[in-house]
């Protein structure tokens, strides 16, 4: 998290710290599901690594319940029973993060409390959260000023209109042919140094639904070109509600 603030205990009780292929983030759904980015489980450009999802589940580490990494580790790992990767996600396509969404089913339900609470999912009809300028908050244990953070940080970022996101992408001279699909949205600033960064992947972009008074996850930290050099790109959760509910209800 660049340009953010330290989170206090209980600010983002849904925040999960993952350690699957390096540091990542996630969000608690209900009392036994972790919503995260698919690329934290199957990184792009990993080559011919043919580890099965069962083995990845066995080896995955998930931590919940604190804002300090050291304390999180002390509180213990939450074992993973199964991993669900969205079928649209292609780990071999380096430039297309479409379907960058995954669910981890914990072996044991967690007991909720002040430090561990789930995030809500958006209403299927509510698209206002993605409108240009709608502010949301992202938390994470990712990199800040080239150092990986040992404490949870958060930053507020506005959602950005799709055309602005695409326009900015097109203007990038690096030549990375990144795909901006309809299943994504971007948020952040072009010049203000506030952004998410490596290590924040999988954490959720949340907004406060003033109608219900609840915090709602609208996006998942997915990709960007550098950090704080422009907009960040997020998986649009609204488009994956059916997939999420289908897995959670069946399991």
């Amino acid at each position: 998290i660049l340009g953010g603030k330290p989170a206090k205990a209980g600010n983002f009780p849904w925040q999960a710290l993952t350690a699957i292929h390096g540091r990542g983030g996630g969000a608690l759904l209900g009392d036994r599901w972790i919503l995260t980015a698919a690329h934290t489980i199957l990184p792009k450009g990993a080559g011919g690594n043919n580890v099965s999802l069962e083995q990845l589940a066995e080896e995955a580490n998930v931590f919940l319940g604190h804002t300090k990494v050291e304390e999180l580790h002390k509180m213990g790992n939450h074992p993973v029973r199964r991993i669900f990767i969205h079928p649209d996600y292609d780990p071999k396509d380096d430039y297309n993060f479409n379907g960058d969404i995954a669910l981890l089913e914990l072996k044991h339900p967690v007991t909720l409390g002040p430090g561990v609470l789930p995030i809500c999912l958006p209403d299927t009809t509510n698209t206002t959260f993605y409108m240009d300028g709608h502010v949301g908050y992202v938390s994470g244990f990712g990199v800040e000023k080239n150092f990986i953070s040992n404490k949870l940080k958060y930053v507020s970022l506005p959602a950005v209109a799709r055309e602005k996101c695409q326009s900015w992408l097109d203007s990038k001279k690096r030549g990375l042919p990144m795909i901006f699909s309809e299943n994504m949205f971007c948020a952040g600033f072009l010049t203000v140094k506030r952004d998410t960064c490596q290590g924040d992947s999988g954490s959720v972009f949340t907004v406060l639904d003033t109608g219900s008074g609840r915090w709602v996850a609208t996006g998942i930290v997915s990709w960007g070109i550098g950090c704080a050099e422009g907009y960040g790109f997020y998986t649009k959760i609204l488009n994956y509600l059916d997939w999420i509910k289908g897995i959670v209800r069946e399991e």
């Binding site: 989170a7 206090k8 205990a9 209980g10 600010n11 983002f12 009780p13 849904w14 759904l29 209900g30 009392d31 007991t111 909720l112 409390g113 002040p114 609470l117 789930p118 995030i119 809500c120 999912l121 908050y137 958060y154 507020s156 949340t206 406060l208 639904d209 219900s212 008074g213 609840r214 915090w215 709602v216």
Partner: protein, 440 residues
Amino acid sequence: SSPVPRKLFGEIRSPGYPKPYPNNNISIWNIHVPKGYVVKLTFKYFDLEPSESCFYDYVKIKADKKNLGRYCGQLGSTTGNHPGRKEFVSKGNRMHLAFHSDFSNEDNGTVIPYRGFLAYYQAVDLDECDPNNAVEEEERPQCQHFCHNYVGGYFCSCRTGYQLQSDHHSCKVECSSELFTEASGYLSSPEYPQPYPEDLRCNYSIRLPKGLSIILKFLEPFEIDDHQQVHCPYDQLKIQARGRQIGEFCGTESPGSIETNSNEVDILFLTDESGFSRGWKIHYTSEKIRCPQPVPRDQFTIIRDLQPVYQFQDYFVVSCKTGYNLMEGNRKLLSFTAVCQADGTWHQSMPRCEIVNCGSPTDLTNGAFIYVNEPANNSYQSVITYQCNKPYYDIVTGTGGDSFTCSSEGTWVDQDGQVRIPTCLPVCGKPVSPITEVQR
């Protein structure tokens, strides 16, 4: 003289009958019927020479050493003694008939052919029991107690408590093993209400089927030799039921009515060598033995159709009020019936009713329950309410709500009668400490 064969009937004819009888004839007939009968003789036809006092020709009839008459003449004759339709009956089983004809049957020089007689006799049963029929004092039937006549004979019997002796006439007290098996009856001391004999060892046994109880009711008078200071030293009336003595009586005060609660009763009457008391008499009856009136052990027990009296083979059914279980020890019963046995006891003892216990309510994951009413227990009609650990969980209930009551079936049920408990679901998006932006 010819003996008449011992037949039950026959006829006797004058010599030559129906031809005129000869002169100078004496004929004798001894009619002898079997013992137990008497002879009854009638003349079918009688035609003898009439004479004054039957001096000339006659028929003389004798029986039981008595003359029954001397007869002669013709029907309608003024002299003589015609027997007509008269029946001659002996007292014994013999009758003697004698016919006598003189030297002629002339009347004024005319020979009249008198034909003689034709008589019929039959044996008629002698009622030996009628004292009027006794031939002689010593031959009178001497049944000491009862005489029973039958055709051709008789026999004697004795009163209760007496035994016919070998002479078949005399009766001696015999009461050592009197047995009564009828549902009711009478028994008394010998000779009652006359003074009872001495040296008695009487034993009267009443034996009825199991399940019946014998009731003894003493009638008046009641009189057994006694002593002012010593209890029953001379004569004793002992009553035993099932081998156990329930009383020893003497004196003049009647024991009244005794319920023995037994189907087997023995009454022993022992007398010494003297005394002049009138004895006793008992009317015994029986009824089905009774069982104790069933009494509930607690206020929750219901005895269906309670009867005022329970007797052998009666039964009662027990149930409990709603919310209570029938218990026998630690065992729950689905039903209970007790039957009154032949010995006057119930075949099962009364159960008790214990309040239904639903056990501890199911624990609610991420929640808890509280008892709503007092006392806080798991008994019938106790109420609990489930709650979730707020603010992290919210309760989701069925249509029956979050309150559960301990039902009469022993389960916790909601207001719709369902047993499924609520669920605690996570509350999303409500951090305890949400971020608060201050500076603007």
